[in-house]
Symmetry: C2
Amino acid sequence: MKKVTLKSIAKALGVSVSTVSKALKNSPEISPRTRERILEYCRLHHYEPNRMALGLRHRKTGIIGVIVPQTGHYFFSRVITGIQKVAEAAGYRVLIAHSNNETTAEAEWLRLMGNGYTDGVLLTLAKETLQRGDFRHFLPWIQRGFPLVFFDRYPEKLPVSAVIINDTEAGRRATEHLLGIGKRRPALITTPVYLSVGYRRELGFRQALKKHGLRVDENRILRIDERKPLLAQIQGLFRLNPPPDAIFGVNEQYAATALNLARQMGMDIPGDLAVIGFSDGMIARHTYPPLSTVVQHGFRMGQTAAELLFSHIRAGETPPEPQIKIIDTDLVVRGSTGSHPVPVADGF
Amino acid sequence: MKKVTLKSIAKALGVSVSTVSKALKNSPEISPRTRERILEYCRLHHYEPNRMALGLRHRKTGIIGVIVPQTGHYFFSRVITGIQKVAEAAGYRVLIAHSNNETTAEAEWLRLMGNGYTDGVLLTLAKETLQRGDFRHFLPWIQRGFPLVFFDRYPEKLPVSAVIINDTEAGRRATEHLLGIGKRRPALITTPVYLSVGYRRELGFRQALKKHGLRVDENRILRIDERKPLLAQIQGLFRLNPPPDAIFGVNEQYAATALNLARQMGMDIPGDLAVIGFSDGMIARHTYPPLSTVVQHGFRMGQTAAELLFSHIRAGETPPEPQIKIIDTDLVVRGSTGSHPVPVADGF
DNA sequence: ATGAAAGCGCTAACAC
DNA sequence: GTGTTAGCGCTTTCAT
């Protein structure tokens, strides 16, 4: 791969490097003749400045980094879109990296992005990090005031800025909705406890039951082991006696799978079983009946997080106080808990 | 944001920059005493080498870039996962950028990534680029032999390496499947013609009909205008007389929406209407009945593309001949075209 | 065992 | 108008 640099151009044209540099910036210092000669040569050889060199010089890249567990999650993709919108308006570009839910990858990306590759980083914790509760790899960045903002999952004990969802309240509202349509034996399908968002949604579930004077039947709380088949685990719920008359799945996947399983077992939905999910993705709109969900406004979360990040970036030497911002959720009632038929989703 | 550099360390410790550098690399030239002093200081101040400087020196980053239109597409997310797997095995990391389907963004990312930010780039064409047919922004990179590999959508006229799907054959197979279960009036829901993948799938559709001695009724070919509501456009198909008895949607979205609409209109599926989609994402598994689809093996496409890219990267100065690799598709028959009930999807 | 110096590619202040 | 120089942060060769 041959490279065209200021130096190579200067040599080829018998001028100095700075002449070339100035000519490319249309400096009035350079005579029209030499400038034309240089521009012509550059055009011909498709000269492009080396970004590493630019970055080194300016100590600024015009890029912000986003670290997410992986691609393909509807919620995160909405967050990213929100981030991009704000970044674009600020003249920044967004680069995305996947932690793959592993702490080492998370730390490595941060090390890369924090050391000149980007001007700031937005991230959500890897599951492994959350599970192990070891947040030491964030300390250097916090200490030196590198612009860093978390979204969704974040280290609660650390003095960092974050944009999150009120999961407890959302969980409570979803559950109250089930109780509100007359259900009395709602079940919960949730994640392992170390995932704090799942835990808080469970908390809301419990609060709602308590508030309505209902006892929490621990058998109706299903904690999914992600290493095992989902379907078999959910089936267990339907073997209870009495079986649940409603299900709250803390994500779209759990809820949709439960719904499909129930329908296949011949249950009437929402008559025999009402189902509500979380995180309003593509699946919810296309199940039958369409799935009611707590919608998370990922787009808004992304926007807010990016704005927070830019305020950090702009603050420069004097890092602002850490801030926690909360994004409200909404309840979208569709056929899986509503009595009326709901129109078919119209694409997107 | 305060920075710790070799220089600042050297000054603080009263040694030279090169001594610090060597100490950090455990060079035997440095006395254990000084080394300890330096390491201690670095640990305390969380020293991390600047990546821009490293990149400048080594002319290598250990990173490959991927440019996709946007996030949230199941197919692309599978491709990315495939790329990551191969990259990881090769000791590389993967950075992702979104072209947002715009040519300028595509060109800018390429300019960034191709000028020192990454060691190679994998990309799929932005819709705008495909539509306008202007591929000039790729020429510099091709000319100077920068490691570049396309996947899925690529500039067919240019001497570039690409990994693609045999869309024509896949379209033919999907259509033949519909004919094979006795349908005689299949309709096609496709994209605007400038999207070559949509066009080739349409070609396959036509070939299948011709092969079976059926006439192509142009009324049954619906070209979606993406700026208008999807649902209304699809409804038009059902008003035909006679209406189609089968639908082939060139993506999951089109197929799922058609299926839901038909079922809501009281049609029996697949009796009155069989439906088949393309690109086996999450939606297909969760519709009712589950959607038959042509599956695209995005993961394998990503792996193949990454392998191709690494062969380019390893080739160094002597760029290898451009290569086109074709990834086969498979047909997955589910309830929307099959007569037998199909089990509920088991999560993922 | 330690340091000076050159250079990766670029910019910008300062000559001439 | 054009060139020289210093420096961004790092590595590496070559002195000392």
